[in-house]
């Protein structure tokens, strides 16, 4: 049964097909007929996005359950947050989403890579502002002796916003990679751009719910 054709190329067999040339190919599916325009990116991406949203959905239920169980503790804890800072950061992320929409539009309508790149750098600038405000909030709370273990609310606040921030850092890495890829090659990479944009909007959506739950609902 064993012939040379069964061996991987590095052991003497023929390559099955063209090897992956670089990470940049990830996200561009094999050529398909123009698909349903209602699904941005590629359908498989939504396995990840909806899965992620489901986990965060469970986190949100956790916040509501803690509020039902210990309403006084949660209300007092939440009163230490500054809704103005939370609102500022929400607006910053919404702005980044707007820039992302503009970047996708510019890319789709065939504008020059430099224009798309500038819009994506705007997205990154928003991310830096968001992270700076967030770290400032963390420092303020920790300075006041309010730690993740202080109450169940602070556990949820630090862990959920922390995991959200991790998503944002991953997203910023993707956007950064995109700016480099788009200026380096002339390929369209429509699916890749849309995929990154879909991920970005999901992170933004999560932020809106987190702001509502942690800063507004919990304190009410």
């Amino acid at each position: 049964m064993t012939t040379d054709a069964d061996l991987p190329h590095f052991l003497g067999g023929p390559p099955e097909h063209a090897a992956v040339d670089d990470l940049g190919d990830v996200g561009d599916p094999a050529p398909r007929p123009p698909s349903d325009p209602r699904v941005p990116g590629e359908p498989g991406l939504w396995v990840f996005l909806l899965g992620d949203l489901t986990v965060f959905g469970a986190f949100f239920v956790g916040v509501l359950v803690s509020r039902l169980r210990e309403p006084e503790v949660v209300r007092e804890s939440a009163a230490h947050l500054r809704p103005a800072l939370g609102a500022l950061n929400t607006v910053v992320l919404l702005t980044s989403s707007l820039l992302m929409v503009a970047a996708v539009g510019a890319h789709r309508s065939g504008r020059s890579a430099a224009v798309v790149r500038r819009l994506l750098l705007g997205v990154l600038a928003c991310t830096v502002v968001f992270a700076a405000v967030k770290v400032g909030e963390y420092a303020h709370l920790l300075g006041a002796g309010l730690e993740p273990t202080t109450t169940v609310f602070f556990t949820l606040y630090f862990v959920l916003t922390g995991i959200h921030l991790l998503h944002l850092v991953v997203g910023a890495g993707l956007v950064l990679a995109l700016t480099r890829l788009l200026s380096r090659s002339s390929r369209r990479r429509v699916a890749l751009v849309r995929g990154v944009a879909s991920y970005w909007h999901m992170v933004d959506l999560l932020r809106i719910v987190l702001f509502g739950l942690l800063y507004l609902v919990a304190a009410s």
């Binding site: 049964m1 991987p8 990840f48």
Partner: protein, 240 residues
């Protein structure tokens, strides 16, 4: 012959899941494990109430999780078909997969050690229980990286008839994310982020169980497609 060995390795993932789940149920860890917030005396009672159950259960679990190894092997063989020329992701997956098997087997042994002498100083049993459960849930990185490496290989497969469908790549990225909150088990003894909490225990169990099912079944289909009679485009597994 090769085909049947590959298929057996793919099935091994599902067998691992079933045996491990039975083991953890017999041991009393499923559906609800002893918590990090129990006193030393309460922890001892977890083992002393049903010593035979704890020992047989953790023994079964340690046997079950070892059966993950053949699945790692057949995933690697199928990844070779995706990567071709330079199988760096394949080798990385094998290294990480080997580490995950150790990270799954060792904690079940530690928990067996905890059950070994119920008459010893309760604080020692408590320390061993801490070690067992924290070792079981918190080595996130090998699992997460394994998922990412598989995802990159699947999504980077440029063939018109990909070895694994693309959604398997995306599902791997999602499952990798699901493991992240388990890191919080270092910090909490109670609440949703302690090792017995919903975001560590349940998310971890459901995430890894889902991964075993997805990989076993999708790799099985890839093997069947690999040896299907017509080697043309019609022999590809579903692109869904």
């Amino acid at each position: 012959m090769t085909k049947h060995v590959q298929l057996a390795c793919a099935w091994s993932g599902l067998v691992a899941l079933v045996v491990a789940l039975v083991g953890f149920t017999v041991a009393g860890v499923l559906p609800f494990p002893p918590g990090a917030d129990l006193s030393a005396e309460q922890t001892v009672r977890f083992y002393a109430d049903d010593p035979a159950g704890a020992r047989i259960g953790f023994m079964l679990a340690s046997v079950g999780v070892g059966l993950v190894a053949p699945l790692i092997g057949v995933i690697a063989v199928q990844m070779l078909r995706m990567e071709g020329r330079t199988p760096i992701l394949t080798f990385t997956q094998m290294v990480l997969g080997a580490v995950t098997v150790v990270a799954l087997v060792v904690p079940t042994i530690v928990l067996n050690v905890a059950a070994f002498r119920p008459e010893r100083d309760p604080e020692i049993t408590q320390a061993l229980t801490d070690l067992g459960f924290i070792l079981f849930f918190t080595p996130v990185m090998p699992f997460l990286l394994q998922n990412v490496v598989i995802a990159v290989a699947v999504l980077g497969d440029r063939s018109p008839t990909p070895v694994l469908p693309r959604w398997v790549g995306w599902a791997n990225l999602w499952i990798g994310f699901v493991f992240v909150p388990a890191l919080m088990a270092y910090f909490f003894r109670s609440g949703p982020f302690a090792w017995q909490g919903v975001f560590v225990f349940w998310l971890g169990f459901v995430g890894y169980g889902t991964w075993l099912v997805v990989m076993s079944l999708s790799v099985r289909r890839a093997v069947l497609a690999q040896y299907a009679p017509a080697p043309t485009a019609t022999a590809s597994p579903s692109m869904a």
